[in-house]
């Protein structure tokens, strides 16, 4: 309810009353419709106070002018201010002049003034209320149209609606088209426990469900005794609920119910038909805001997807350029450094036919070995470094099981390693290139290395098909019972220069780069002292048919 008290209006009314009956003092008391004590709102010539409360209440009750006055007390007349049968206030006039009395004549004079005052008050109240509502609607419009995040919009709708009708409690539920349930999206007020929040209404169930089903607002004056109401909050005495309908109200029948807005108050009969109308108008704005937010959300998703795609393309282009440079560089390094071991071998060969003192031969040999070792190391490093950029050959369809078997064979596990292979039947082929076998080989080699010196040596390989994100994936799990990876090491697992004892630190980096380039993923789980499992997900070829294992 909007509190409206136009003091200026009442000041004028009391002055006019004094003037009209030529009395020294006058006052106006507001009567609360809830039946509480009348309250002084305006006074004129206050030397005449105190005003008789008894007289005011008498006028209130009888709805007729009441008069008082004896030789000891000042003359007073109280006239009720009635509007449509309801007493809005009491106009009181007093005069303590000797022999002054008030009679029917004054009553007849004051009555129209009191009635006009009531009418003016109501109008002023209405105006104030309308202004407040207009301001509220405007604020809502601005707030809603400038906010595009759906959750924020829903919360805002509820806050504004609560303000609009002066409710203390509120909830906004959206209809889940699939389940037919009204799911809580925003709530306001006290007492919302997780259990209450989780409570959902089906269509037709409870007040909210009724509103959603009938697409009509519902005004509940006595919440505790309304058979429709499902009491979630005992202290709530009245409520109003409006449907959130897609489309304009005239065509609402055709429109869909998006949700229900329910507002409650601890006061009985807190809401009126006018609040319903106001909320219906508000619901239209709210629905538009919700739709905008939903659309915005969709656009945002689309935008994000495009952005991702764009980034992928830029990355691919960058990769291609880097690949060209890397290939040229690799070629050059191989040509230049490849000559070192080759030339060294020629020296060794030539020397073998010559007569040289043994200590000199040893010295020459040691140096040649050093040269060869360094040359070989650089070649290995160049190979590892440039492998990701290597022209991998055309994409082709591969049966993962076959590649796994090939790689296992190439890894050549020592006989003390128990190898357990569990290959899924009828896996769809993956689209990749021949380097994929090297990926498995790298992982098998790593696993075997991790198990060196461990008492129990078990290498497990498992392949399966899995449907996720509307795609079919082939999942390869490679587990070992090796030393495992410590959390410190795990954080740098995929780094380019993660140096191992005998490797050059590119292996896993390359594996990951290769797999991700082809749209797959690789991850691992490890427990130090227990073992490590690598999980590879590979994208399958489109329109692929299963390959027999």
């Amino acid at each position: 309810m909007v509190e409206a008290r136009d003091t200026q209006l009442l000041d004028i009314a009391v002055q006019q009353a004094s003037r009209l009956v030529q009395a020294r003092g006058s006052a106006f008391y507001l009567c609360d419709p809830m039946g509480q004590q009348p309250e002084l709102a305006a006074a004129h010539g206050s030397q005449e106070a105190p005003w008789s409360r008894e007289l005011i209440q008498r006028a209130c009750r009888s709805r007729q002018a009441a008069m008082a006055g004896t030789s000891d007390s000042p003359a007073m007349i109280a006239v009720p201010s009635v509007w449509h049968g309801a007493v809005r206030g009491v106009l009181l006039v007093a005069d303590s002049s000797p022999h002054r009395t008030f009679g029917e004549q004054e009553a007849a004079l004051l009555q129209p003034l009191a009635e006009l005052t009531a009418a003016a008050m109501v109008q002023a109240e209405r105006l104030t209320r309308m202004q407040a509502q207009f301001r509220a609607l405007h604020a809502i419009d601005v707030a809603l149209t400038s906010s595009l995040e759906l959750d924020r919009v829903l919360n805002l709708i509820l806050v504004k609606a609560t303000d609009l009708v002066g409710a203390e409690h509120g909830s906004l539920r959206l209809l889940d088209a699939e389940t037919g349930e009204l799911v809580l999206k925003a709530h306001l007020g006290e007492g919302w426990t997780p259990e209450i929040c989780a409570y959902t209404f089906r269509l037709g169930h409870g007040l909210t469900g009724w509103v959603a089903l009938h697409r009509k607002p519902y005004l509940c004056a006595d919440a505790l005794n309304d058979p429709l109401n499902v009491v979630l909050f005992e202290q709530m005495r009245s409520g109003v609920a409006v449907p959130l309908l897609e489309g304009l109200s005239e065509e609402a029948q055709a429109g869909q119910v998006l949700g229900v807005l329910l507002l409650e108050s601890a006061r009985p009969g807190a809401f009126e038909q006018r609040d319903v109308e106001l909320l219906e108008a508000f619901a239209q704005v709210a629905v538009i805001a919700m739709q905008n937010a939903t659309r915005h959300q969709k656009l945002q998703l689309l935008h994000d997807a495009l952005q991702d795609e764009h980034e992928r393309r830029v990355a691919a282009e960058k990769w291609a350029v880097m690949g060209q440079a890397a290939t040229a560089l690799a070629h050059r390094i191989n040509n230049l450094i490849g000559l070192v071991p080759a030339s060294s071998a020629e020296i060794r060969r030539t020397l073998s036919g010559l007569e040289i003192p043994p200590e000199d031969r040893e010295w020459i040999d040691t140096n040649l070995q050093r040269i060869e070792r360094s040359g070989q190391f650089i070649l290995r490093m160049a190979d590892a470094l440039f492998r990701p950029f290597q022209e991998p050959g055309p994409l082709a369809r591969f049966g993962v099981n076959r590649l796994v078997k090939e790689a296992l064979q190439a890894a050549d596990p020592p006989c003390d390693v128990e190898v357990m292979v569990d290959l899924g039947q009828d896996l769809p082929p993956v689209e990749s290139n021949s380097l994929l076998v090297d990926v498995f080989l790298e992982l098998f080699t790593n696993a075997l290395r991790a198990m060196e010196g461990c008492p129990e040596k078990q290498l497990q390989v498992r392949t399966r098909a899995e449907v996720a994100e509307a795609d079919t994936w082939v999942i390869v799990r490679i587990s070992d019972t090796g030393i495992g990876i410590t959390p410190e090491k795990a954080t740098h697992m995929w780094d380019m220069f993660k140096q191992s004892e005998d490797g050059v630190g590119f292996g896993l980096w390359w594996v990951r780069t290769f797999i991700e380039r082809q749209g797959g993923t690789i991850s691992f789980q490890s427990q130090p002292g227990v073992g490590t499992t690598f999980i590879i997900r590979l994208r399958t070829a489109k329109d692929s048919e299963a390959v027999k294992a």
Binding site: T327, N334, G338, L339, A345
Partner: protein, 156 residues
């Protein structure tokens, strides 16, 4: 003279290493740096047993037109001539090309160059070529343009 070999390699050090190595084995070696020089040599040379080609020189463009032309000229001159491809950047793909498209006798990677293996392979290639060259001469099919007829007779 144990056999006639042409080396086409643009890296001077490699060219000199390979030609030195083979000369010391007693072969008659001609080394050139470009395809053009190679073609000139093939034009006037007879009885070439082995051509050693850097695959990158042959693979100038996507269609390998230049390289393929050189190869077809080599084969036209003498169907017995063997070809060994070498590469500074060996991939499965270049290896596949060497064997499938260029019908190479063997394929060597500079980054894993094993000179003993290279010697053995060259010896084998030259031996095969020499044997076939004899048959070729015996049948008076000296000119390479009769290669096709020769091929029909030898490879039904």
């Amino acid at each position: 003279m144990r056999g006639k070999i042409l080396i086409v390699e643009d890296y001077t050090d490699w060219r000199e290493l390979l030609s030195g190595l083979l000369q010391r084995e007693g072969y008659e070696v001609k080394d050139v740096a470009t395809l053009e020089q190679a073609r000139k040599y093939i034009d006037q040379a007879r009885d070439l047993d082995l051509a050693i080609l850097d695959i990158r020189l042959v693979e100038i463009d996507d269609t390998n037109e230049e390289g393929m032309r050189l190869l077809s000229e080599i084969h036209e001159r003498g169907g017995f001539t063997r070809v060994i491809m070498i590469t500074g950047h060996g991939t499965m793909e270049s290896q596949r090309k060497a064997f499938r498209e260029f019908h190479a006798f063997d394929f060597f990677r500079k980054e894993q160059f094993d000179s003993d293996d290279f010697r053995d392979t060259v010896r084998e290639a030259v031996e095969q070529a020499t044997r076939e060259r004899g048959a070729w001469k015996d049948k008076d099919y000296i000119r390479g343009r009769r290669y096709e007829r020769w091929q029909q007779e030898h490879e039904p």
